[in-house]
Amino acid sequence: MATKLNKRTVVIVGGGLTAALIARQLTAKGTDVLVIERGADRRNGAAAKIPSQRDELRWDIRGGLGQDWSVETYTARHSPKEDSLPARRLAAFLPGDGLGGAASHWNGFAWRWSEYEPTLRTRLETRYGKQAIPADMPIQDWGVTYAEMEPYHHLFEKLYGISGKAGNIKGELQPGGNPFEAPRRDDYPQPPLEPTQAGLIFKAACEKLGYKPFIAPSGNSSGAYTNPDGMRLGACQYCGHCEKFICEAQAKATPETLLYPVLFERPSFEMRLRCHVLGIDYDKQAKRAVGVRYLDLVTGEEYEQPADVVVLAAFTMTNTRLLLLAGIGAPYDPTTGAGAVGKNFCYQTNSAVNVFKKDWWINPFLASGSTGVTIDEFNNDNFDHGGLGFLGGAGISANLTNGRPIGNRRVPPGTPRWGTKWKEASADWYAHSFSMQAQGAGYPHRDNYLDLDPVYQDAYGLPLLRMTFDWRDNDMKMSEYCTAKIAEIAKATDAAIVGPAAPRKAPFDTRVYQSTHVTGGTPMGTDPGNSVVSQHLQHWDAENLFVVGASVYPHNAGYNPTALLAALALRLGDDLTGYVERPRML
């Protein structure tokens, strides 16, 4: 029997980035907030200290900081007609586990999305006509505008001390920045990071071709920084152990570095670590979330935690799964298009081209997590798609993030997989090669969605989440186009060897890491018919239930998702401050 606890004002599921930002806004006004997180505080553990931090096998290859697949994984299939199978050791993406969530081991890319992204349907229909968006591509406007989000982007960048170079200040293009950037009120809080040698070679090739390369905005701190809450960052050490690792140098902006230490000092804030939320209690009659049920992973005891307001702030997949498990809202049905829970599940369509030259000293181990040089000419709708036969695009970059030797040695095509020649190629090219990447948009498709698996269960006997996902025509055409653009840039370097241009092709492979940027499942919008939450992230079928994170994105862009979900979380924090005083449909 579960023990029933005293009611709390706001209960947040998941102790990652969005929870911290919401709690920051709420507790500043003294509102009572409880965050429930299944994982541990790892700030003083082996993951966060030298020498054990620098262990590629433990943290990267074995995924030591991520979700424990023996407890909960996802099942997968390529189409609604197939049976699913569980990914028994998922490699494609890496949900977090612990204080800070996946945001504690992010790479640091801190993009604002293009000004038109929240109104993408309107943008594409205006530019290309009503027929331009295929019937099986449920792109929709989000119900917010960039202008509404700008103050929250600004606040997030100040809190995180983002390093970068503005490309567009109040509509005026800035030399050296991204000419496609959404207008900002001022420059980034810190100057950009040092580019890598790979970035400089990429930059020169891009300039030769008439593109405008720039250094990507980053949560790796380019210098010493103190944020508006008095929290400090040190300078990035370019250690090459960033994504999939916790920064030991206090130089990567993360929730546990900059946000939770402030919250732990506030009297109206409480966090329960090592407590796994099993479900949301929902009163269907009253259309209200009553509270959450969780298992204390230290004692093994189960608790009911009543709440005035429940916020789902877990990883993309978990937000959707908790709604489906509780039966809140109508599950999406791909045959009729009805229902919205699980809809618009998107990924990112990525590809890369390797380049090699003996007298380049690339030194891949001299790198931060987000020392990227990028061009945005072919990203999203930054170029004219008339006659191309696809929508969307990709940011093209030389993002050299590390030289960790198990997973990051490039060898020329045709190299044997073992033996003396394999060793020779590794020795010859390790320091003299790099990769140029496309990070491509993922637009929704009718048959890409999430639901509960009818067969497989987690360690607690609850159904696993099932992904029905594959690369669809639009993804593959877009990837072919953008990968050919990378190949042109590769050839414009003086590389001696240019590896094959391999665009992303079906079938989707769960065995290969591609990106942790899965989005959707609880899309936001203005119409309860095609969205789970409103433009204020309030559930249409439960006024006191809110959902935040990349799960609310109706589509995915060729940008990393973090900064936008952070801005949405800060806005939600402010919205909730008002809601708690006067509960209503916002």
Partner: protein, 252 residues
């Protein structure tokens, strides 16, 4: 401070000195005497040509592998990593030891692996689908591969001439060696091969990459990787630390 602690710190200092001089100067006999066996081995390795390096400094013996299994694994790593101008043999690099320790440890026992049925075959993109912990799968696959090898060559894998063994592994990797119950292509490509690469390039604390030989081979400097100044000073230039990598043990 307890005597043990003092000794530990003294040893750490000595190791740091050795790490500094290794590869550049001969170790003084006095330093070698205080440094302990593994440190001497480290220094000796740096002095000797790669192919003549001493055996791995991790304790001898296997935790998981039987004698027959060890013979297979040793033959495998010596074919995949022959002694040459770049490294000692796979066994001398500790590669068999690495695999053995991984199989005996959490990975081999199925840590972080979803192990609930039903068990069904499916498309390869959905990955491993057998009801076996990796250690069990490794051994069942090893036995099946050895049986296939006997069918073709009339002897066990460890008795093959290196060229035959190499050709057999190529066939395994391309899925041309089959078994009615065991998916040998996936066994080699998704279990054995990744373990081999990890054995070469993981930190030496796991038993492979003895004396950081693979890190030195490619020029990966290892720890501490505090490169704020290096980032600019050595951008586009050879990085001196790449010649003399440091591992977790050097900072422990």
């Amino acid at each position: 401070m307890a005597d043990g602690e003092a000794a530990k710190f003294a040893r750490r200092d000595v190791l740091k000195q050795i790490a500094t001089v290794a590869g550049t100067a001969r170790l003084s006999p006095a330093l070698a005497a205080t440094a302990g066996a593994s440190a001497v081995a480290t220094a000796a390795q740096a002095e000797a040509p790669a192919a003549a390096a001493p055996a791995a400094a991790v304790p001898a013996g296997y935790q998981s592998l039987s004698l027959d299994e060890a013979a297979f694994v040793e033959a495998l790593v010596n074919v995949m990593c022959p002694a040459d101008h770049l490294t000692p043999s796979g066994v001398d690099c500790g590669l068999a030891t690495y695999m053995d320790r991984q199989l005996a440890g959490g990975f081999g026992q199925g840590e972080r692996l979803y192990m609930h049925g039903p068990w069904k075959k499916g498309k390869p993109q959905f990955g491993y689908q057998l009801p076996l912990a990796p250690e069990q799968f490794f051994k069942i696959g090893l036995a099946a591969a050895n049986a296939a090898c006997r069918k073709r060559f009339n002897k066990n894998f460890d008795a093959l001439a290196p060229a035959d063994a190499d050709a057999f592994l190529t066939q395994l990797a391309s899925g041309k060696v089959t078994d009615p119950r065991v998916p040998l292509g996936a066994w080699f490509n998704e279990l054995v091969y990744p373990l081999f690469v990890q054995a070469c390039y993981a930190d030496p604390i796991y038993g492979g990459n003895h004396d950081k030989v693979f890190w030195r081979m490619i020029g990966y400097p290892g720890l501490p990787a505090t490169h704020q100044r290096d980032m600019v000073a050595f951008r586009g230039k050879p990085y001196p630390g790449a010649q003399d990598p440091k591992s977790i043990a050097d900072f422990s």
